[in-house]
């Protein structure tokens, strides 16, 4: 399927003289063709519309991708407990397990 799409692009470039300008733009990414304001990336010919399942697919594990936000939420939670206790007692304690409710 991918080969077919790439083939069509190449063929149309060769046949359609009027398409030369477009093909030049598409084959030479220069950052100037915008699909929407602030959104101007464009794939080179042959680059898949979706990278999932292609050789460009990084095949990330959703579990790994979620680890940072889980860690940040835990840090925010521990920080909040420290600040709440600090405000209540006037005494700062870092070790969350030493804080009493």
């Amino acid at each position: 399927m991918l080969k077919k799409i790439a083939g069509v692009v190449t063929l149309s470039c060769i046949i359609g003289g009027g398409l030369t300008a477009i093909s030049t733009q598409a084959s030479a990414y220069d950052g100037q063709t915008c699909v929407a304001p602030g959104n101007c990336w464009e794939p080179k010919p042959g680059f898949p519309a979706k990278i999932a399942g292609t050789k460009f697919d990084p095949r990330h594990s959703p579990k790994e991708l979620a680890k940072q936000s889980i860690s940040i939420a835990a840090m925010e939670d521990r920080n909040k407990k420290r600040v709440d206790a600090f405000k209540k007692t006037g005494n700062f304690v870092y070790e969350v397990n030493k804080l009493t409710d």
């Binding site: 084959s27 030479a28 990414y29 220069d30 950052g31 100037q32 915008c34 929407a36 304001p37 602030g38 959104n39 101007c40 990336w41 794939p43 080179k44 680059f47 979706k50 990278i51 999932a52 050789k55 460009f56 990084p58 095949r59 990330h60 594990s61 959703p62 790994e64 991708l65 979620a66 680890k67 940072q68 936000s69 860690s71 940040i72 840090m75 925010e76 521990r78 920080n79 909040k80 420290r82 600040v83 600090f86 405000k87 700062f92 870092y94």
Partner: protein, 597 residues
């Protein structure tokens, strides 16, 4: 008070004279040239001092006044603070913090040693550097490499509060200096080479309570962008809904980079905080189709809420690791006959950006190194770089002779703006590279790079430059070529002198009008820190940290030898050990005392 100078040349005046109520004390303190009260000298990042006891006539007589071993090795970035009679500075990991009574510099007033965390150094991409502590209201705030923020009693060094801001187990660290605005401690984080999604956070100075957190990528809520109100500086229009998410495929934004390890600026009148975001996720652009917003962007946020007023993406869909984190210098410029509040930014990508700091709209963008070839210029209609297709990197292709290299034409080393000459004094790199990207899989806490890079000196063979520059005209009145990257910051003074250090350890004073080297002294190690100046008991001093490292000298700092190691930087400076060793010394200079003094 020469800080209030407002000439009418190309680049004029500043925010110095303006003050806002609750922030009065730190703003007032910044007007006193006898002290150096915030890391960048002043909120506008000028790194300029009105002191002129040391000047272009007598600087040739400069001498070492006193020195102090830091008790550490590896890269010493950042700078000391001088608050009243006390000097404070922070070392590289393990992030010792020192207070020195300037009446007794032979003694240590107090030393703070945070608990070492061995998780942190292995995930520091570019040496275990730290860019210095910040001060306000009797509190010294020091970030540690392991992501903790320490608020210390400035008198005793006793811990007031601690906050966890970054998790080294997930590849996130802290090397940046905090900026304190009113009661808010504003801090960033590092980890762009570990797939860490960047954020900027504000904490309450007195309690450590988190006040706001704004990510570089993600939902509008996460990034604190209002689709209707936040302006895209490139288009002049509101960013619209999902301005970040629509420029990524799938969940790649979750490891999207955009870390925030540079210097921050603040305009009290507009109440806006300015900073830049770093590289997007992996260095392999084929793996992350899209513009990858808002990596590589200058962002202006309300200091109280964190809400973004505007954003301008300098390098959409980065393929070179041109982190956009470098400092914003706040000046006013003449544009079409009007005086406009602006910011000036020397980006890693080799362009200087002069933007309207109220709106984010570009005023003037120029190349500050003529060798820049990844883009021919900035299109005046789209305000986006016109990328050279031959230099666009992609998976499994070795793209050669790209200028600048990933270290950029300037990295962390901050420039100085001198209001008397109205020029910028910039310590720079001058490098090119080959870059071969490849696919990588993300694993939390492990490098997420995906490129083999080899850096080489730029055209002419020199790796560094120290220049005077006019960003409105693109003119370089003079240039000093240096063998290695000029990785130290610059300081200029009303005495018409610019100070900076070299990687070989030379500490230099230069005539700001001609570029003539008026004084140099070989300090014990290469300099990657930033000079400051202050007055104590009627005498002007200049201080700088000497201790080579950072990305420029990562081979020495991490004992690496293969050319492409250290993210491509090791081979470049293979000869640096012929000139310097690792070190750790605070150097303080002054003019000689007269007999009997």
């Amino acid at each position: 008070m020469s800080f209030a100078l407002a000439g009418m040349g190309t680049v004029v005046s500043t925010v110095h004279a303006q003050a806002a109520d609750s922030k009065q004390s730190l703003i007032e303190m910044q007007k006193d040239p006898n002290q150096w009260v915030i890391p960048t000298g002043t909120y506008d990042n000028w790194r300029y001092s009105a002191l002129k006891q040391i000047n272009s006539d007598n600087v040739k007589n400069l001498q070492v006044a006193w020195t102090m071993s830091t008790g550490t090795l590896r890269g010493l970035e950042g700078q000391p603070l001088v608050i009243g009679n006390t000097m404070y500075y922070e070392t590289s990991y393990p992030n010792y913090v020192y207070a020195i009574d300037l009446d007794h510099p032979d003694q240590i007033k107090w030393k703070f040693m945070p608990p070492p965390n061995e998780d942190a150094p292995p995930v520091a991409c570019c040496d275990v550097v730290n860019r210095g502590p910040a001060y306000a209201e009797g509190i010294l705030v020091a970030n540690a490499l392991d992501g903790k923020i320490y608020a210390l009693d400035a008198n005793t060094g006793k811990v007031i509060w601690v906050a966890e801001n970054a998790d080294p187990k997930k590849g996130s660290t802290m090397t940046n200096a905090p900026m304190i605005v009113g009661n808010k401690v504003i801090v960033g984080m590092s980890g762009g080479e570990f797939g860490v999604r960047g954020y900027l956070t504000a904490y309450d100075l007195h309690s450590g309570k988190m006040l706001w957190r704004a990510y570089s990528e993600g939902s509008d809520e996460d990034i604190k962008f209002n689709p209707q109100k936040t302006i895209d500086g490139a288009t002049g229009k509101p960013v619209g809904a999902d301005s970040s998410l629509k420029t990524w495929r799938g969940d790649e934004w979750k490891v999207g980079g955009g870390s925030t390890w540079g210097w921050y600026a603040y305009d009290p009148k507009l109440n806006l905080v300015y900073y830049g975001t770093g590289n997007p996720g992996t260095w392999n652009p084929s793996q992350r189709p899209g513009d990858n917003a808002w990596s590589m962007a200058i962002i202006a946020r309300d200091a109280d809420t964190g809400d973004a007023k505007w954003a301008y993406q300098m390098t959409p869909h980065d393929g070179w690791d041109y982190d956009g984190v470098n400092e914003m210098v706040l000046v006013d410029v003449e544009d079409k006959g009007k005086t406009v509040p602006a910011l000036v930014h020397f980006d890693r990508n080799g362009f200087t950006y002069v933007l309207n700091r109220e709106t984010g709209s570009p005023i003037k963008i120029t190349k500050y190194d003529s060798s820049v070839n990844w883009a021919s210029g900035i299109d005046p209609k789209t305000n986006r770089p016109i990328v050279n297709p031959d230099k666009m990197t992609e998976a499994d292709k070795n793209v050669t002779d790209i200028c600048p290299s990933s270290q950029g034409d300037k990295d962390q080393q901050p420039v100085s703006y001198n209001p008397n000459t109205k020029l910028f004094y910039a310590p720079l790199n001058h490098l090119c590279m080959s870059y071969q990207a490849f696919n990588v899989k993300y694993k939390a806490g492990f490098p997420f790079v995906g490129a083999i890079v080899n850096m080489v000196p730029g055209p002419g063979g020199n790796r560094g430059r120290f220049i005077a520059y006019n960003p409105m005209t693109g003119e370089t009145p003079w240039e000093i070529k240096d063998m290695f990257q000029d990785w130290s910051g610059a300081l200029t003074t009303a005495g018409d002198v610019a100070f900076y250090g070299t990687l070989t350890g030379m500490f230099r004073a230069v005539d700001i009008k001609t570029g003539k080297i008026l004084y140099e002294f070989k300090t014990p190690s290469g300099i990657i820190g930033n000079p400051i100046t202050y007055m104590h008991n009627g005498k002007q001093y200049v201080a700088v940290l000497s201790g080579v490292g950072g990305w420029a000298a990562i081979g020495m700092a991490n004992n690496l030898h293969k050319g492409s190691e250290g993210l491509g930087a090791v081979g470049l400076n293979a000869s640096l050990p012929n000139y310097t060793n690792l070190g750790g010394t605070l150097m303080v200079f002054a003019l000689p005392s007269k007999a009997g003094e």
